[in-house]
């Protein structure tokens, strides 16, 4: 088991939709005050890890979160669609509680495309393609940092372990503003949470 992470996966800070516990999908909600505080704290932690590249989802919340870290470490984030969250189409903005059964239906039927969105299969393929390539690069050049979303992190965790432990969109691998590290684990990789923000901090 390697001790040094080859990459870090950061979840964006809190948005208003997180507060309402609603599915965000590709809705472009900005960070709240608390979310900015989380991003700042996150950046303080990441700044000490010797990052070599930063990738972020093109969605605003991820870009905003990445900008805090980029500002400290001086590395321009690269936006990549591969890090975008699961496109839940018509369920954007719907509370997780209300959409739970529908989400499970699409999870149980991975090839079925969500109306106005994407199927879980397509989403996982996108995630898999991105991380397969970038993690391999990170092994050589790293550590990289990926600013992404809960569903992406859930899908990554499942695909790294080979099991659907996490219910994409419905379970939190790491909280908002949290950081997980990617370790090499034999022929695959391992994801472990290493940081969780505790207090709400206002940006300085």
């Amino acid at each position: 088991m390697a001790d040094t992470p080859i990459a870090y996966v950061s979840r964006h800070g809190e948005t208003a939709l997180n507060v309402e516990s609603a599915l965000k999908g590709w809705l472009d909600a900005p960070l709240t005050e608390k979310g900015m505080g989380q991003a700042e704290r996150q950046a303080e932690v990441l700044a000490t890890l010797g990052l070599t590249k930063i990738f972020c989802s093109p969605l605003l919340r991820a870009v905003q979160t990445a900008s805090f870290t980029a500002g400290i470490v001086g590395i321009e984030p690269i936006q990549d669609r591969g890090l975008a969250t699961w496109h839940v189409g018509i369920f954007e903005g719907v509370s997780k509680e209300d959409a739970k059964d529908a989400i499970q239906l699409f999870l149980d039927n991975p090839s079925v495309k969500m109306p106005d969105g994407e199927s879980i299969e397509d989403f996982e393929q996108r995630i898999a393609e991105f991380f397969t390539m970038r993690l391999a690069q990170a092994e050589k050049d790293g550590p990289y940092c990926f600013f992404t979303h809960n569903s992406s992190i859930s899908a990554l965790s499942n695909m790294l372990s080979g099991q659907r432990r996490e219910v994409v969109e419905l379970s939190d691998v790491i909280p908002t503003g949290g950081i997980a590290a990617v370790y090499v684990d034999g022929g695959s990789y391992r994801l472990e949470a290493i940081f969780e923000p505790t207090d709400q901090e206002t940006p300085k």
């Binding site: 996982e124 991380f131 695909m159 022929g187 695959s188 990789y189």
Partner: protein, 804 residues
């Protein structure tokens, strides 16, 4: 009343030296000794005596009457001619020509064939949409006699309260004797043609109509309302309200014999003719013409020889302030007529006058709002439509009759005479000169048939239905009919909306009628209070005998139409509504509660046209209503059971026997009083229905009056109460004795243990041992656990990221 009337005859007249009768001057006093109002002709009676004006006063009054008749001569003529035309149009006489001297005549009336023959002239044919629409409007307005309600003008005055109560009973008598349903139809007709209607209400003595009173030997009377259209009455044209009118006049043509019978003291002086005021002569011609329903101004000679115009003029006291009346004369007139004056002439002969207030007899009613007294009638806007329609239809008729094409044949080629001899060939055959080189097919030709302007047909259709309906309000939709121009089926909701819109418009006239009927009813109460004595009783269908003491009517009352925002509904609507209640009572608790009340069932059944069917409880309701008549005549009576036991105890005591304690205890439990009408102690009466009927009486207006009334009324209320209690107790006893239906309990099969389910299945004939149910439960349980616990199978092709 004045005492003497001197009836002059040829023999009684003093004769001059040549044996001729001398002309007498007007008589100072009138001998009425032999005059009995209503004996030979209906008479408008009043408790006020006839006034006895002297000659000078009569002269002044005559002048005032003449002034009133001559006032607003131009506008009066205008309104007379308008209404004359409207009435003739309604009658079907629609090709009118202005008549010399004013008014209307028809072309061709002077034809040698007589007036009837000229009526058959195609030039006089009319397509009478005005008559049609008048029928529609009258049917809509006259659906239901307006209901009125009396109130005390001074609620703190017992006489006023009593009068209002009595008037609310009397109104049914007035409705019957005055024939208000027919009156409403007349009013509706006059609203259509004349717009302004005068209501005149008074006590009319008439031996023929109402009989002779056995006690007094004099003709009986009743309060009657008559209505007059514009031609029959005259008012100051500029006045906006009745209170601004200082004089109102009514004109009626009476047969000379009737007039003499009505005013016998002036019999010999009454001559056929008009009041002799030139300005109102045309009014008489118009009245006679429209009543005789003859063409144009043709008036039969015998009518002129026998008709006398009865002119009734009401003056307010303010009329005596005219500049033609001197101060002294005014004072004498005001003394004679402090409330105002009614003065009656037959022809030019003064008949009588008396102190009378016009506002207690007359009500001027307008169908529509407007300015002044000459307003647009309901159908006035249809006159030009009718005229145009007649012209277009005549034109269309001319096209059809006259434009059968002519045929032209080459002379020398065709035997024209032979063709013309054929009498079944439409069109005329005529020769023509052919030109050289003309081909055979051109040897004859038929003129192209001229066709009328296509728009004319559209206009005719529109002016026949849609346009006059929108102008007058006489729409097909008033009676929930489809509109003529509706293509295909029309939804019921649309028909209902249109009907309500049409009714809302006609509601203007309906509201005017309601107000006028309320005022007429108030006048009737005033007249009855003044002229009647003792009990006024009438049998009113649906209410039984209604009795009112005339004395109770003497109080100050107000009368208003009952508030009802809805237009009276037609029978189909009522039937529909009642059928809905019947059909909906199974699901609708409100309807179900209505159906439970036997009184309502009768009303609902009648409304749904099921009058021939008996309804449950109806007989019991009728029986109880009759018993209520008896119960309200007295208080409760001592309980005979108690009396019997008391008697028994007294006998025992008298004979020295000890009285058993249970008898004394029994005595304590027996109520001292019972109702005067006994309640059956078995199931032979419908106790529930009879109790309900008593309950309704106790809680309605009549019951509450008794409850809070005099000592006798309170005792009567107690009597009804005890009767109600008797029925209620009996109903309870009989219900307790009837077999009880055991309570029912529903248990689901799946809620039972296996043994229970086996037993339940056995009752249906299925023999399933409990073990089978147990096994099934186990399998179901395992399945549910399996679904919850066993995760979904991960697909073999699940994606995994690997180091690559």
């Amino acid at each position: 009343m004045p005492d003497d009337v001197a009836v002059e005859t040829a023999e009684s007249k003093p004769q001059d030296s040549e044996g001729k009768n001398e002309d007498k001057k007007s008589v100072q006093s009138v001998d009425m000794a032999n005059f009995v109002p209503g004996q030979y002709a209906a008479f408008d009676y009043s408790a006020e005596p006839f006034a006895e004006p002297d000659d000078e006063q009569k002269r002044v009054l005559r002048e005032l009457v003449t002034l009133a008749s001559r006032r607003d001569v131009a506008s009066r003529r205008f309104e007379v001619e308008q209404r004359w035309e409207q009435r003739l149009f309604d009658r079907g006489y629609q090709h009118l020509l202005p008549r010399r001297g004013g008014g209307w005549s028809l072309p061709g009336e002077k034809s040698v064939w007589g007036p009837l023959a000229s009526a058959d002239s195609a030039a006089l044919y009319s397509t009478n949409i005005i008559g049609r629409d008048r029928d529609i409007l009258c049917a809509a307005i006259a659906r239901e006699v307006p209901k009125v309600e009396f109130f005390p003008r001074k609620p703190e005055d017992p006489a006023s309260m009593r009068a209002a109560d009595a008037a609310n009973d009397y109104k049914y008598i007035y409705e019957k004797t005055s024939g208000l349903r027919d009156l409403l139809m007349e009013v509706a007709d006059l609203y259509c043609s004349d717009e302004r209607v005068l209501f005149y209400t008074c006590h009319v003595k008439d031996a023929e109509a109402f009989g002779i009173d056995e006690q007094t030997g004099k003709p009986r009377g009743a309060e009657i309302t008559r209505v007059y259209g514009v031609l029959e009455h005259k008012v100051p044209m500029q006045a906006q309200y009745q209170k601004d009118m200082d004089a109102i006049q009514v004109f009626t043509e009476l047969d000379i014999a009737v007039a003499r019978a009505k005013y016998p003291w002036a019999a010999d002086k009454i001559k056929p003719g008009t009041p002799g005021i030139g300005e109102i002569e045309l009014d008489m011609i118009a009245r006679v013409n429209t009543r005789l329903a003859l063409l144009g101004s043709y008036v039969t000679g015998d009518a002129l020889q026998r008709d006398v115009t009865e002119q009734m003029t009401w003056f307010r006291p303010s009329a005596f302030f005219d500049e033609t009346v001197t101060k002294d004369m005014r004072e004498s007139l005001l003394k004679l007529y402090p409330k105002g004056c009614l003065i009656v002439y037959c022809g030019q002969e003064y008949c009588f006058s008396r102190n009378e207030a016009m506002d207690e007899k007359l009500k001027v009613s307008h169908a529509l709002p407007g300015k002044g007294q000459n307003r647009r009638s309901l159908q006035a806007s249809e006159i030009p439509i009718q005229k145009r329609l007649n012209a277009w239809i005549d034109l269309g008729d001319a096209f059809i009759r006259r434009t059968v094409p002519r045929r032209h044949y080459a002379a020398g080629v065709f035997d024209i005479e032979a063709l013309q001899a054929q009498d079944n060939t439409p069109g005329k055959s005529s020769p023509f000169e052919i030109q050289a080189g003309i081909s055979v097919d051109q040897l004859c030709f038929v003129e192209p048939t001229p066709t009328p302007q296509p728009m004319m047909i559209d206009f005719i259709q529109s002016f026949f239905g849609e346009v006059p309906a929108s102008l007058s309000g006489a729409a097909d939709s008033l009676f929930s009919a489809k509109a003529e121009d509706d293509p295909g089926p029309t939804p019921v909701g649309t028909i209902t909306i249109r009907r309500d819109q049409a009714l809302a418009r006609v509601g203007l006239a309906w509201n005017a009628a309601k107000v006028a009927f309320a005022e007429a009813a108030r006048h009737a109460v005033i007249a009855a209070a003044e002229c009647r004595e003792g009990e006024i009783s009438e049998f009113i269908p649906g209410k039984g005998v209604v009795s009112v003491n005339a004395n109770d009517l003497k109080g100050d009352v107000l009368c208003y139409p009952e508030y009802d925002a809805a237009f009276p509904e037609a029978w189909p609507e009522r039937e529909q509504r009642n059928r809905e209640i019947i059909a909906g009572s199974a699901q609708n608790p409100f309807y179900a509660s209505l159906i439970k009340i036997p009184k309502n069932i009768r009303t609902i059944a009648d409304g749904a046209r099921m009058s021939n069917l008996d309804v449950p409880g109806e007989a019991a309701v009728k029986k109880q209503l009759m018993e209520l008549e008896q119960l309200t005549q007295s208080g409760p009576v001592p309980n005979p059971n108690k009396l019997e036991i008391e008697q028994e105890i007294a006998t025992m005591q008298a004979s020295g026997q000890p009285v058993p304690p249970d008898i004394e205890k029994q005595l304590e439990g027996i109520p001292p009083l019972v109702s005067s009408v006994p309640v059956a102690q078995d199931a032979s009466e419908d106790h529930q229905t009879e109790a309900q009927t008593c309950f309704e009486w106790m809680n309605d207006e009549d019951g509450q009056k008794f409850k809070n009334g005099t000592a006798e009324q309170q005792a009567a209320f107690q009597n009804v109460f005890l009767h109600w209690k008797g029925h209620t107790d009996m109903a309870g006893k009989l219900t307790a004795q009837s077999p009880q239906i055991p309570p029912r309990l529903n248990i689901g099969m799946k809620d039972l243990p296996p043994a229970g389910r086996s037993q339940a299945a056995a009752k249906t004939g299925l023999m399933i041992p409990p073990g089978e149910f147990d096994k099934k439960d186990q399998v179901d349980m395992q399945r549910k656990i399996h679904e919850k616990v066993v995760p979904k199978v991960i697909p073999e092709t699940y994606r995994k990221i690997t180091r690559g």
